[in-house]
C-alpha cells in the first residue's frame, strides 16, 4: 500500500515508565494524534519495547490492517530495529515503521509539561507524514569476498590475524617495518605478572609465519583502498629489502663488512646497527633488509661490500618496489602507537640529555636482549645509577601544552619499571612523580602496592617542573603537592613516561581508508560504548592502541573482538545494505552529471547510451547529497524524498 491518501497508520506512544510520561501527557498525545485523517489507531502503553508492548503493536497491525507504524518512544538508534522487526513479523514491510523520538529529543530535555506534550505531538505528526510517503523497501544484497586484511603487525594485528585465520579464512597481514612484533617485542617484562614479553610474544609470531591462512607482507604499506564493505580492492606497496629471503642463509657475513652504523630503532636509538640488518634475533621473517637511506651501496662505486661477501648471492641492489593488488571483504586496522617525542618537552631537556630516557628506552635497558644484556647502566658513562626518578604523565594530561588525554598504561609500567630497577640495583632508590595513580585492572592495584611495600618505591605526588644535567647528575626540580614543599632530586638517571600518540603514518593511512579520526588522531569507533571495535566505515574494524592508548590484555581483547566481527560477517554468503539509496527518474534526468561530482562513493554512473545518470545501489550509502545537487528534481532518496521532508516541515509549522 503506497497510496498515501488511503494509507492506514498506527501510532504507538510509549510512556517509558516516567521517562516520557513524566513530562509528556501521553494520553493526550495519543488522543491528539488519532485526529490525523490517516491515523487509524493511536494508543499509549507503558513500555512499548517490552514483549506485551510489541505484541500490542503486532496485534494491532493485523487487526486494524495497518499500512504503516509510528512508534513515539526513544531514539531510533535504540529501538528502530526492534519495532521494524515487530512490524515485519506482523506482515508489514519493516520500512513502513518509523520512530518519533520523543524521549531524548523531547521529554528528557524539557521541563514544561504542556509544551513538551505539544512538541511530542508535533514530532509524532511529522513522522506520520513521513511514513505516509514511505516506500516498502527490501535490503540490497551485496556479494562478499571472504578474505581479510589486517594492517599492523604488533600484538593487536597478530591476534586479529590469527583469530580470523583460525576461523578458516585467508588473511593478509601487512606490516610496514621489516619484522612483525610491534612494540611488545621490545618490552622486557609485562605487568602485573612480570611475564617475559618476548617469551609470550614470539610463539604468536611464529604461529603467524607458519599459518597456512596468513599471507604475511612485511616492509609493506597500504597505498590505496577502493570499493566497499565485503568488496574492497587494496593496493599494497612492497618495499624492496634488496635481499632475497629464500637465498639468504643468515650467515651474517654481510653485517661484519658493512661500514655504515646507523641508529638501531629496535633499541630505541640506544645502540647502532649496520645498514644491512636483521631487526632483532627473533625477527619474522628472519631475513636481512638493507636500509636504503643509510646504505651507500646504491652507488656501487661507493660500496657493495656486503654483496661481495654474500656467498649465496642473495643481495640484489636492483630490487624494485612492487605494488600488489588484493581483494578483501574486511579490513582490521591495528597500527598501534608511538611515544610522544621527548623533543616536545623542552623543560625536561627536549631529548638532549643521554641519561634522560623514555619508557621504551628503559624497557630496552631492562631487557636481557637489550644493549646492556639487562644491566641497568647509564648511557652516558655506563655506571650503575643509584637514584632514578620516574616521571609519569610526561606529555599526558596537559591540555594547554601537550596531550589532554591520559595515556593509560604509564601508571602501571612506571610501577613495573621502578620495581624491576630495584630488582636489578638492590641498593638503588627509585622515585616516581605522579599526578594520581590509575591502576584499574585485574591485579593492577595490588601490583602498585607491591612496588611501594616490597620494593620501597617512593611515590611523590606532584609535577616535575624542570630537568637538567649538572656535575654528572640529572637534577629534577619538582613540587610535592601533598606537603607543598619544593623537591630537588640529584638523580643519576630519569625515565619519562611519555604520552602515547597514534603511530606515525596512521593519519595518512586513515585518509587512504577514509576512516574517521578523533581530535588527537586516534581512529574513531562507530559508537564509544556499544560499537567499540567497528569504525564508522562499514567493513573496517579497529584493534588496539590505534583507537586509544591501551595495555596488552585490552589490545588482545579488542583485536579478538574485531576478528569475531569479521568472522560473523564472513559467516553469511552475502551482505545486506540499507536500501535508503538514491533513485533516478530517467525521464526527467537531463544527464548534466552534477550528482556525479558530489557523490563521495562513485555510486553515480553516466549511462552514455541513455544519456542519463544512474545509481549503483550497492555503492550508494544514502547520504542524499546528490538529491540536492540535482537541478531538475530527477533524483530522490528513498524514504527521504523532497515530498517527505517538505510535508514534515509543513506539518511541524
Amino acid at each position: 500500500m503506497n497510496d498515501k491518501k488511503k494509507k492506514r497508520i498506527g501510532v504507538f506512544v510509549c510512556h517509558c515508565g516516567i521517562n516520557i510520561a513524566g513530562t509528556v501527557d501521553v494520553k493526550k498525545a495519543a488522543k491528539e494524534l488519532s485526529k490525523h485523517k490517516n491515523v487509524a489507531h493511536a494508543e499509549d502503553y507503558v513500555y512499548m519495547c517490552s514483549d506485551p508492548g510489541q505484541k500490542l503493536i503486532s496485534d494491532t497491525i493485523k487487526e486494524k490492517n495497518l499500512d504503516g507504524v509510528v512508534v513515539a518512544c526513544c531514539s531510533p538508534s535504540l529501538h528502530e530495529s526492534t519495532f521494524r522487526g515487530t512490524s515485519e513479523e506482523a506482515g508489514l514491510n519493516p520500512y513502513q515503521c518509523e520512530i518519533a523520538n520523543i524521549r531524548e529529543q523531547c521529554s528528557w530535555v524539557h521541563k514544561d509539561k504542556q509544551r513538551a506534550t505539544s512538541k511530542a505531538i508535533t514530532i509524532s505528526n511529522s513522522i506520520v507524514e513521513k511514513v505516509l510517503r514511505n516506500q516498502s523497501l527490501e535490503p540490497i544484497s551485496v556479494p562478499l569476498t571472504k578474505r581479510a586484511m589486517v594492517i599492523g603487525g604488533g600484538i593487536g594485528g597478530i591476534q586479529a590475524a590469527l583469530d580470523i585465520a583460525n576461523g578458516g579464512h585467508e588473511v593478509i597481514l601487512v606490516e610496514k617495518s621489516p619484522s612483525i612484533g610491534g612494540h611488545m617485542i621490545q618490552l622486557s617484562e609485562t605487568f602485573p605478572t612480570l611475564d617475559c614479553s618476548q617469551c609470550i610474544m614470539t610463539p604468536k609470531m611464529v604461529e603467524v609465519s607458519k599459518h597456512p591462512n596468513i599471507k604475511l607482507m612485511t616492509y609493506s604499506e597500504v597505498q590505496d583502498v577502493s570499493g566497499y564493505v565485503g568488496n574492497f580492492k587494496v593496493k599494497i606497496l612492497k618495499k624492496p629489502t634488496y635481499v632475497d629471503p629464500d637465498a639468504c642463509t643468515l650467515c651474517d657475513e654481510c653485517t661484519k663488512v658493512c661500514p655504515v652504523v646507523t641508529s638501531n630503532e629496535f633499541d630505541q636509538g640506544l645502540t647502532g646497527r649496520k645498514a644491512i640488518y636483521v631487526p632483532f634475533p627473533q625477527a619474522i621473517p628472519a631475513t636481512y633488509t638493507i636500509d636504503a637511506e643509510a646504505c651507500p651501496g646504491f652507488l656501487p662505486i661507493a660500496c657493495g661490500k656486503c654483496a661481495e661477501v654474500c656467498e649465496p648471492n642473495a643481495i640484489n641492489f636492483d630490487m624494485k618496489p612492487e605494488t600488489v593488488e588484493e581483494e578483501v571483504g574486511a579490513i582490521v586496522v591495528a597500527t598501534g602507537y608511538d611515544l610522544y617525542s621527548q623533543k616536545n618537552l623542552k623543560e625536561y631537556g627536549g631529548g638532549q640529555y643521554p641519561d634522560v630516557l623514555d619508557g621504551l628506552q628503559f624497557e630496552r635497558l631492562l631487557s636481557a636482549s637489550g644493549p646492556t644484556q639487562g644491566k641497568i647502566l647509564r648511557p652516558s658513562d655506563h655506571k650503575e645509577p643509584k637514584e632514578v626518578v620516574f616521571v609519569q604523565c610526561a606529555g599526558s594530561r596537559d591540555p594547554e601544552l601537550h596531550c589532554a588525554y591520559c595515556s593509560k598504561i604509564c601508571c602501571m609500567y612506571t610501577a613495573k619499571h621502578a620495581m624491576l630497577y630495584k630488582h636489578h640495583v638492590q641498593d638503588g632508590q627509585p622515585y616516581i612523580f605522579y599526578i594520581d595513580i590509575r591502576s584499574g585492572g585485574k591485579d593492577y592495584e595490588e601490583f602498585v602496592q607491591r612496588a611501594v611495600e616490597d620494593d620501597g618505591v617512593v611515590y611523590i605526588r606532584g609535577k616535575v617542573s624542570k630537568i637538567f644535567e649538572e656535575d654528572g647528575k640529572v637534577k629534577v626540580w619538582g613540587v610535592d603537592t601533598l606537603t607543598g614543599k619544593d623537591i630537588q632530586v640529584d638523580a643519576d638517571m630519569v625515565v619519562l613516561a611519555m604520552a602515547l600518540r597514534p603511530s606515525g603514518g596512521a593519519g595518512e593511512l586513515a585518509k587512504i581508508l577514509k576512516m574517521a579520526m578523533d581530535k588527537d588522531g586516534f581512529l574513531s569507533e562507530a559508537h564509544p560504548k556499544l560499537r567499540p571495535v567497528e569504525s564508522v566505515t562499514s567493513g573496517m574494524f579497529l584493534a588496539g592502541a590505534a583507537q586509544a592508548p591501551k595495555d596488552i590484555p585490552e589490545v588482545v581483547a579488542q583485536s579478538s573482538g574485531a576478528a569475531s566481527k569479521v568472522l560473523a560477517m564472513f559467516s553469511s554468503d552475502e551482505l545486506h545494505h540499507d536500501p535508503i539509496v538514491a533513485e533516478v527518474d530517467e525521464d526527467v534526468c537531463s544527464g548534466c552529471k552534477m550528482c556525479i561530482r558530489v557523490c563521495p562513493y562513485d555510486a553515480r554512473v553516466y549511462d552514455e547510451e541513455k544519456g542519463v545518470v544512474t545509481v549503483n545501489e550497492v555503492l550508494c550509502e544514502g547520504c542524499g547529497a546528490c538529491i540536492v545537487a540535482c537541478p531538475s528534481g530527477a533524483t530522490q532518496q528513498k524514504n527521504f524524498s523532497d515530498d517527505q521532508i517538505n510535508s514534515m516541515i509543513d506539518s511541524i509549522l
Partner: protein
C-alpha cells in the same frame, strides 16, 4: 498579546547532530522547546529549498547541524552543506530575510552540551529578532 515564542526547524544529521541531541537528552540537559528536529541522514540532504519552504510556512528560524569538517559520516557531505548554506545566506539577504535566521553548526555525537548551547543561543537570537513577517521583511 501573548509572548512571542519562535518556531524553529532544526535539521540534524543522523550520525552527529541528532546523536548529539540524543546525548543531551540522555544527560538530561535542558533547552528551550521551540525547535523541532527533522532527522536526515546527512546535512547535505538539506536542500536550500527545504529551508526556504520552512520560512515560507512560518518558521522564524532554521537550524542546520552536521558533523565537524573532516568527520562527516559520508566523508565530504558537510562541505556541500557549508557551501550551500553560505550561498543561501547571501540570497536570503537579497530576498530580504535576515540571514541570521539561518544557522549552520557542527555538533558531534559527543557534544550534547554544545547542542544545548547552540540551540539555546539560536532560540534567544530568533526571539530577539522577532517573528518573521515575510511580507514586511521582503518589502524593505
Amino acid at each position: 498579546m501573548a509572548k512571542f515564542e519562535p518556531k524553529i526547524i532544526a535539521f540534524a544529521c543522523n550520525w552527529c547532530t541528532s546523536a548529539g541531541a540524543d546525548l543531551a537528552g540522555t544527560s538530561r540537559m535542558k533547552y528551550q522547546p521551540n525547535s523541532t528536529i527533522i532527522r536526515v541522514m546527512c546535512s547535505s540532504r538539506v536542500d536550500p529549498q527545504h529551508i526556504l519552504r520552512a520560512f515560507k510556512q512560518g518558521a522564524d528560524g532554521v537550524f542546520v547541524g552536521g558533523c565537524h569538517p573532516g568527520d562527516c559520516h559520508y566523508l565530504t557531505g558537510n562541505y556541500n552543506t557549508l557551501r550551500r548554506v553560505k550561498l543561501l545566506k547571501k540570497m536570503m539577504q537579497d530576498m530580504g530575510i535576515d540571514p541570521q535566521r539561518l544557522q549552520l553548526e557542527w555538533v558531534s555525537a559527543a557534544e550534547g552540551q554544545k547542542f544545548v548551547q547552540v540551540i539555546n543561543e539560536f532560540t534567544d537570537k530568533i526571539r530577539k529578532l522577532g517573528a518573521l513577517n515575510l511580507s514586511k521583511e521582503t518589502s524593505n
